[in-house]
């Protein structure tokens, strides 16, 4: 491998220096890193807001904040986590960085549009910050902005909704860019069934981003028109129907949870075969399940509304469709586990985090079925059970996949290797803290504690105290994990081009990659997960493709 200068030393377009070489860059890798710093900032902020919320709930009555502050804070936590961390997290950082490389090309199709999307993302974040300090303060509506409250409340809903509108635009343009890149920039030798699974999952996600996001955009526009002009489309006095708001909102926001989880599943599909030294089990099944989740997941939105007053027929149909989504999700879980069966497993921090993902995501998925079934849903609707469920999926799922991706691709992105021991300790602490934090919420929900309430009855105190305690463990684990990663940048230990024995194209180029990704034309393997070259003369498990 020739020693080409990495993308850190070689700006694109050429000639730009210093800060300009970042702020005006067209390089997908630099943009991926720029997204990373912005998204990590939001993640850490929202994480500590969450910790404050759980601290407030650790004992009955007022602990550290007023009820109004509590309402604004859980809204802020939700808005930041959803729109500024979980939705953009994996696609904007790792998708931007690795999708072109895995496709064997030098950039995304629309590099300037990519830069524009980053600016939209930053502008959306700026609006969210500004809405904290202007007017009557941050919304207290929850991230769902349900009418009529979001229209009636004095708080700064309009600005926050504008922020979400802009962020949606950014996410949609990224999706548009990925779909076009996938079709037009793929290496000519790479057939559809030779594409790495992470890229496949981004492709499925990108379609959802393109097709679902405009619905939330128009819904947010309608909220603003309702607030400024009083058009009455959601107001019963004027003939409107508030339930329609919920339909429009979830028509995007349910597919959005698949925008959140599909790229995470893609990461796991990359990590598991590498550390099992064995071809992924059911490559085609995983590809199809990604597309099936994207399609079926777009047809289940009203399962958020069983208690809102829909017809029994609707409840039945949406419940049935919801159960269908479980099938492709389970196909993936079984494929990952089957990949490990009889593999030559090498433990590493990314693998440990991926195993945590499989376990926590499975719990999240199964509690989702409890909620998807209309009968049980009526009992636990809007309780802490829901809070526990979606944190298992969004945090235990996407969050852990995000950590796994960070640990998996960190050596590739920065060319440095981190220390394993703190990474293991951090990962275990995070997982244990996670279980302590969210399992009590599932139990509290089954006992009947509603979500989003500032205070609760005495019988719920033990559970809430335990959950808060788990929250501190969880955050301690994450701090160890992140500090360990950042320390690796200060005292660099150089990472080789392929530290893990990966077989997809990003491992064939130097770490960090050169500006044009491939100095020589890449050779596309017949199958992206062929580990025979690593197993030659090795011990068993090499029978896979």
């Amino acid at each position: 491998m020739t020693a080409a200068p990495s993308f850190f030393e070689n700006p694109s377009p050429p000639g730009l220096t210093g800060i300009k070489s970042w702020l005006l860059t067209h390089d997908h890798k630099r943009l991926g890193l720029m997204y990373m710093w912005a998204i990590l900032f939001w993640f850490v902020l929202a994480m500590f807001l969450g910790l404050l919320l759980r601290t407030e709930l650790m004992s009955q009555g007022r602990t550290i904040m007023s009820a109004e502050a509590y309402n604004s804070m859980f809204t802020l936590h939700g808005v930041i986590m959803v729109f500024l961390f979980v939705i953009p997290g994996i696609p904007a950082i790792f998708g931007n960085f690795f999708l072109p490389i895995q496709l064997g090309t030098d950039d995304v199709f629309f590099p300037r549009l990519n830069l524009f999307s980053w600016y939209l993302f930053m502008l959306g974040g700026l609006f969210a910050v500004v809405s904290l300090f202007l007017g009557e303060g941050f919304p207290d509506t929850g991230w769902t902005f349900y009418v009529p409250f979001s229209v009636g409340t004095e708080s700064n809903v309009s600005l926050t909704v504008t922020a979400a509108f802009i962020l949606g635009m950014s996410s949609m343009l990224t999706g548009l860019n990925f779909v076009t890149t996938f079709h037009r920039m793929r290496h000519p030798d790479m057939g559809l069934m030779q594409i790495p699974l992470f890229t496949w999952s981004l492709y499925a996600t990108a379609w959802v981003q393109i097709l679902a996001t405009p619905v939330i955009s128009i819904t947010f526009v309608l909220i603003m028109l309702e607030r400024f002009l009083g058009i009455g489309l959601f107001e019963p006095d004027k003939g409107g129907d508030p339930l329609l708001y919920q339909h429009l909102f979830w028509m995007y926001s349910h597919p959005a949870v698949y925008i959140m989880i599909l790229p995470g599943m893609g990461v796991i599909s990359e990590v598991i075969p590498v550390f099992s030294r064995k071809s992924i089990f059911g490559y085609k099944a995983i590809v199809w399940s990604s597309m099936a989740i994207a399609i079926a997941g777009s047809l289940v939105w009203a399962h958020h509304m069983y208690t809102s007053g829909m017809s029994d027929v609707s409840v039945f149909v949406f419940s049935l469709l919801t159960f269908l989504v479980a099938i492709p999700s389970a196909v993936k879980v079984f494929s990952w586990v089957s990949t490990m069966y009889k593999g030559a497993i090498a433990m590493s921090p990314p693998l440990l985090l991926s195993l945590c993902f499989i376990y926590l995501f499975s719990v999240g998925g199964l509690t989702g079925l409890v909620l998807g079934a209309a009968g049980t849903n009526i009992h636990v609707h809007d309780t802490h059970f829901v809070v526990g469920h979606f944190h298992f999926v969004m945090f235990g799922g996407t969050g852990f996949a995000f950590f796994a991706a960070l640990h998996f691709w960190w050596p590739k992105m920065f060319g440095v290797m981190y220390r394993f021991r703190p990474a293991y300790i951090g990962a275990v602490l995070t997982a244990v803290g996670f279980v302590f934090h969210y399992v009590p919420m599932l139990i509290l929900g089954l006992q009947g504690m509603p979500r989003r309430y500032y205070d609760y009855l005495p019988q719920y105190e033990t559970g809430n105290f335990l959950a808060g305690f788990g929250g501190y463990l969880l955050i301690a684990g994450m701090v160890i994990m992140f500090v360990n990663l950042f320390v690796s940048l200060r005292n660099p230990r150089m990472a080789p081009a392929d530290p893990w024995g990966g077989t997809t194209l990003e491992w064939t180029i130097p770490s960090p990659p050169p500006m044009e990704n491939f100095v020589e034309t890449p050779v596309i393997p017949d199958f992206p997960y062929d580990f025979r070259k690593f197993m030659a003369g090795g011990k068993g498990g090499g029978k896979g493709r």
């Binding site: 694109s12 067209h26 030098d106 950039d107 199709f109 629309f110 590099p111 549009l113 949609m172 548009l176 860019n177 779909v179 076009t180 079709h183 037009r184 920039m185 393109i210 097709l211 679902a212 996001t213 405009p214 619905v215 955009s217 128009i218 819904t219 526009v221 309608l222 028109l225 002009l229 009083g230 058009i231 009455g232 489309l233 006095d237 004027k238 003939g239 409107g240 129907d241 329609l244 339909h247 429009l248 028509m251």
Partner: protein, 198 residues
């Protein structure tokens, strides 16, 4: 990045963007469908209040402008930039006529105290209020798209005059044209929904 120029890819990107625009309006059409189901009689009554002549005129204007945009692309392909510029100028004129008509239409309605949250509308039957709210939201958003389309066509016009859009390289004009056709297409649905509702 490199010197390659993949016009098919550029068009795919535009088509994906157009899908997203259709879904943006799709959300509003869903609202229309539900409320039409709830208040069919008021929608008929509201439709009678609108001026079908102006509506039909605007439809013709947009259809003609769509034709001239397509004609300007053909003219560019035949290496006749002045002709192409003429067609584009004509299309922009049509867009302007559409907006002026819309202005008078809205102006007359507002003059008669028909606009969201107006005293008349607050006392009116809920169905009628919903009809006119949808009318303002949908035609307003469509009008905004007409303006965006005109900006795109103007940019293409400047590029045609400077020779940057030419027979070998006219994706910008083609994509602006696609956008303009979308604006036209959406109007084709909006017109019967409000003006011809029976």
């Amino acid at each position: 990045m490199s010197s390659r120029r993949d016009t098919l890819g550029l068009r795919i990107g535009m088509w994906l963007f157009l899908y997203s625009e259709i879904i943006l309006f799709g959300g509003l059409f869903v609202l229309y469908a539900v409320y039409y189901h709830n208040f069919p009689d008021f929608f008929v009554a509201g439709g009678r209040e609108l001026n079908r002549i102006i509506g039909a005129l605007n439809t013709v204007v947009l259809l003609v402008s769509s034709f001239t945009v397509a004609a300007s692309i053909t003219a560019i392909q035949r290496e006749k930039p002045r002709q192409a510029a003429g067609f584009l100028l004509f299309s922009l004129g049509c867009g302007l006529i559409f907006l002026v008509n819309k202005y008078f239409e809205w102006g007359a309605k507002i003059h008669h105290d028909i606009y969201p949250n107006s005293p008349t509308m607050q006392d009116a039957e809920p169905g009628l209020n919903i009809f006119f709210s949808l009318y303002y939201v949908i035609t307003g958003l469509h009008g905004l798209h007409v303006i965006i389309g005109m900006v795109l066509l103007s940019v293409s016009l400047v590029l045609v005059l400077r020779g940057r859009v030419n027979a070998g390289r006219f994706t910008m004009l083609e994509n602006s044209g696609l956008y303009w056709h979308l604006v036209d297409l959406i109007w084709i649905f909006v017109f019967p929904m409000f003006y011809l509702v029976l």
